[in-house]
């Protein structure tokens, strides 16, 4: 019974693919399944995972957010420039600026989505062009390299919460990024499961009109969702900066496809109302090992985009084909009863 239930979720299949693919990569290159590589994967993918949580919440509410990678880069680039020009070398200050920007840009998205009732994809496509163009025009286009980067950001990137010694005496560790990810996941899980606003996100994703009539303040929920996505994008922006120690205002933009693919592969329905955080994380795991480990099995990085597209197309085809078959199956049963 339990297994039957599990087999009905697409997450299970994605998890199986993750395990099979990991086993395959390990058999080709044993360096994959080492604690060091796993810690490294966690460190480099925590940011993407946080972004995915924000996009997941938006999908759950029945929308799409393609602007969150742009919000992340805007938060990152502006906060690092403010840090440099004011001389305040503090990581919390960087996070504060980036998060404030994320919240306000998310609120602008929400204004168009909620007050003007415009299609979310086109709104966020428009705002991402607007935000990115405005930043490049009014803030600057010069990349900040490691020499110009504030010390606190570099320190934050190499901060570990757990140190493990290698045989030769040097150490590697579990990055603080993972702790941030866990905190974000716990918070989001709590919001979705135990707060009225969280239940409202599921409700408006299922049926906006029904949720409104049931007494949900749909406008407030939509503002919450887009601002939450913006907030997470703001956090991710600074994390990404301290991860790669380089701030190029053209980075991240264009990677939203991969993140949305991860969320959708994790079983979130694009029309809203259905999906789980666990699934989202499994989806992120799949995309991460696809993107980071093609080189490990000897394929050039040119294949990356192709594989992400292929996996997305196959994943959604299976999901929708299943739904279609189930539906037609039900229709047959109804006919038999008649």
């Amino acid at each position: 019974m339990k297994i039957k239930q599990l087999m009905r979720h697409s997450e299970t299949y994605v998890l199986l693919i993750v395990i099979l693919f990991s086993a395959f990569v390990t058999s080709v290159n044993p360096a994959f399944l080492t604690l060091e590589n796993l810690f490294d994967l966690l460190r480099s993918s925590s940011g993407t995972a946080i972004l995915a949580v924000g996009i997941f919440m938006v999908l759950l509410s029945g929308g799409v957010d393609v602007s969150s990678t742009t919000i992340a880069i805007v938060g990152q680039y502006i906060s690092v420039n403010v840090l440099i020009s004011t001389g305040i070398d503090n990581i919390f200050f960087a996070f504060a600026i980036s998060i404030a920007l994320g919240l306000s840009l998310g609120a602008i998205n929400a204004v168009f989505v909620s007050l003007f009732k415009l299609p979310t994809l086109i709104v966020t496509l428009g705002t991402s062009s607007l935000y990115h163009g405005a930043m490049l025009e009014f803030v600057g286009t010069r990349a900040v390299n490691v020499g110009g980067l504030p010390q606190s950001i570099k320190d934050f990137g190499s901060l570990n919460v757990l140190e493990v010694a290698r045989p030769d005496g040097s150490t590697f560790g579990l990055s603080v990024f993972f702790v941030i990810l866990v905190a974000v996941l716990l918070l989001s899980w709590f919001i979705l499961k135990y707060t009225m606003i969280g239940r409202g996100i599921y409700a408006i994703g299922g049926n906006l009109e029904a949720a409104k009539r049931a007494g949900f303040n749909t406008r407030r929920i939509q503002f919450f969702v887009y601002m939450y996505s913006g907030l997470l994008a703001g956090i991710m922006g600074v994390m990404h900066l301290s991860l790669i120690r380089y701030s190029n205002p053209n980075y991240l933009v264009g990677t939203e496809l991969g993140v949305i693919a991860a969320v959708v592969l994790g079983g979130a329905r694009i029309s809203g109302g259905s999906g789980t955080l666990t699934g989202t994380m499994i989806g992120v795991a799949l995309i991460t090992i696809l993107e980071k480990n093609l080189i490990m099995i000897g394929l050039s990085s040119y294949w990356q985009q192709f594989f992400v597209g292929l996996v997305l197309v196959m994943g959604v085809s299976i999901t929708y084909l299943q739904a279609k078959l189930q539906k037609s199956g039900r229709q047959i049963i109804v006919k038999e009863e008649e």
């Binding site: 994809l121 496509l125 607007l130 163009g133 264009g254 197309v313 929708y320």
Partner: protein, 348 residues
Amino acid sequence: MNQLLSKLVKLQFKESKNKYLLIIMVLVILTMTVLMPSQFLSGSNIQSMAGQFPEFGFLALAMMLAMITGGIDLSVVATANFTGVVAALILNKATTAGVAPTVSITGAIIAVIAVSIVCGLANGSLIAFIGVPPILATLGTQGLFLGLATVLTEGYSIGGFPLEFMTVGNGTIIGIPIPFILFVVGAFVVALLLNRTQQGFNMYMIGSNPTVSRYSGVNNSKVIMKTYVVTALLAGVASIIMISRANSMRPGYGSAYLLQAILVVVLGGADPDGGFGNIPGLLMAIVTLQVTQSGLNIMAFSPFFRKFMWGFALLLVMAINFIAQWYSDYKRVKKMRAQSASAAEVVS
């Protein structure tokens, strides 16, 4: 029949937007003329504008067809990239092998058509037969096609085409750029498709209400399939103009066109929810965008500012559409209330 009548009335109502579009277009052209009469109205500027817009004009035509059926095609630029790369590879290999230009160009065009049809069938079958929402299906195929283009070229740009091929993108006939002539023909064919064929009528029907169209005996899957094949073919034509204008092709070329295509289609009166969209509106929107773009170019604005402007314009147009709709609804309700109040007075 009633459905059909109300549909026709609605269409007229929506197309009244073209009136405003015409005003906007004339205003934009006048502004540019007044601001810089010598540069803007010069023959060379008009010629260059007419040569510039067709490559994204074709993408906009494609996007509009998808939107009329209530879908969206995020893969248009990726399709154009993929077909463009295939054509570029054929032209490049054939030229180095010493094949006659006429043969290699014909081969490239046939390849573009074939690859476009395959891309369109892929999108169409995902959407029509498997039932994947168009956003998701074309988001996936966008990655797939762009990925294939990248794999084929290994990230390099491909050049070295026969000189004869360059005339497609850069040549003129009695001073009129060939891309412009191609676009006029393309727009005319699409207009015929939309207004004079069963397929066009069915596309509007599906966009307005897929359930009604299915119960009226329309084979929705077939119509959607055909729509996405035509969409991909238009993207293929765009790719031919792209590669011959630039004399090279690299994957990722023209990624900004996606937003611009959506922008002009929405500006031109198409509804992202489907059912609306017409060629005159789209043409006026394209002219407006191209004139603005050239104007900003002449005034030496940076490409970043233009990126900002397009996003801003898209949001502004949609917000204005929403407010106009809301206002006309409000007026209608007010009128109805007044009528029922006066009717009540008569009764009493």
